[in-house]
């Protein structure tokens, strides 16, 4: 007599978790946060979120995403959509920081002086890339990160940003060209 095989269910898809959250299942919301929080944090850090604010920006991004999830119709991956919301949240944080004069406006949202420990950890090239990204227009920076850091497809990036695949490709190539000049 053979023993029953343990059932190993596939993890629920993002779409299933979103539907469960819309029915009021808080565990589904928590599962979505646990699944996407780290990639989102990497994207935000790359886009210039100061370390001290990273947790707050991540939280705010999820809050905004869950509150407007009715507008997500599967036009792109949930993660791509989430990251573009993160870009908007980060921009708002930067504006507020500039208004509070915590950071000078011309330094953008990233405190490039940062934590000495973090700087010690970061390679010189990474630090140059981080600084170089801050010199790019926001769209180029986000397209570059979505493509190079997150490995998203151009079609997906275009759908999330409301542009065309060709335009996303152009933004990426402009970003690469500028970054090559900066990070030598």
């Amino acid at each position: 007599m053979s023993l029953p095989q343990p059932v190993t269910a596939d993890p629920p898809s993002d779409a299933a978790l979103i539907a469960a959250w819309q029915r009021g299942d808080e565990r589904a919301a928590a599962a979505l946060v646990e699944r996407h929080a780290r990639p989102l944090a990497r994207f935000l850090a790359g886009a210039g979120a100061p370390d001290a604010d990273l947790d707050d920006v991540v939280q705010e991004t999820f809050i905004r995403a869950f509150r407007s999830v009715d507008r997500f119709r599967g036009q792109c991956q949930f993660r791509t959509w989430l990251l573009t919301i993160g870009g908007n949240v980060l921009k708002d944080f930067g504006r507020r920081a500039a208004r509070r004069r915590v950071l000078p406006l011309d330094e953008g949202v990233r405190d490039v002086r940062g934590d000495p420990h973090q700087h010690a950890e970061a390679s010189e090239s990474e630090a140059l890339l981080a600084a170089g990204l801050q010199k790019l227009p926001r769209l180029q920076r986000e397209v570059f990160l979505l493509r190079a850091q997150q490995g998203m497809e151009y079609d997906d990036i275009a759908a999330a940003l409301g542009t065309t695949s060709g335009a996303a490709r152009v933004h990426y190539h402009h970003a690469v060209r500028r970054l090559k000049e900066i990070v030598k």
């Binding site: 919301a29 946060v33 990497r42 850090a45 790359g46 939280q59 190079a148 970054l179 090559k180």
Partner: protein, 141 residues
């Protein structure tokens, strides 16, 4: 620097910061905030309408003040040069003298019952700038 090398660096970017993130704690905080601050679309709409209404009151009220003053017999254009500030600028931009000018122009058209004049004084000219601003703001509704 090749494109491949740039992509390689980009993949590492933010990795350490992301590793430091306590994902479970973040998930709990997000769920707690969603529970505490449910979407209140109607509340947002009400607030927005309230702001629009308040702005209209200020603009229309300021316009009426200006009109009344211009219609006053003996009014010489240019004498009360500060009054338009009530319509156009923030009260914080006005100096003490300008605030007093505006108040003087309002004396004829308001009833003091609705004005938040501090108990300690009966003369508007004795008020300091902060108190004058408070009085004017109370007039804005």
């Amino acid at each position: 620097m090749t494109e491949e090398r740039l992509n390689e660096l980009a993949r590492k970017l933010g990795a350490r910061a992301a590793e430091r993130l306590n994902v479970e704690a973040t998930a709990q905080k997000v769920v707690a905030r969603l529970r505490e601050e449910p979407v209140r679309r109607t509340a947002w709409i009400s607030q927005t309408w309230l702001r629009i209404a308040a702005a209209l009151v200020v603009v229309v009220g300021g316009g009426l003040v200006l009109r009344q003053q211009l219609a006053t017999p003996g009014h010489t254009p240019g004498v009360s040069r500060h009054t338009p500030h009530l319509v156009a600028d923030d009260l914080g931009d006005l100096s003490t003298d300008e605030l007093r000018d505006v108040l003087t122009s309002l004396d004829d058209i308001i009833t003091t019952d609705n004005v938040a004049v501090p108990d300690s004084t009966t003369d508007l000219r004795q008020l300091d700038p902060q108190q004058l601003r408070a009085v004017l703001r109370s007039l804005e509704g």
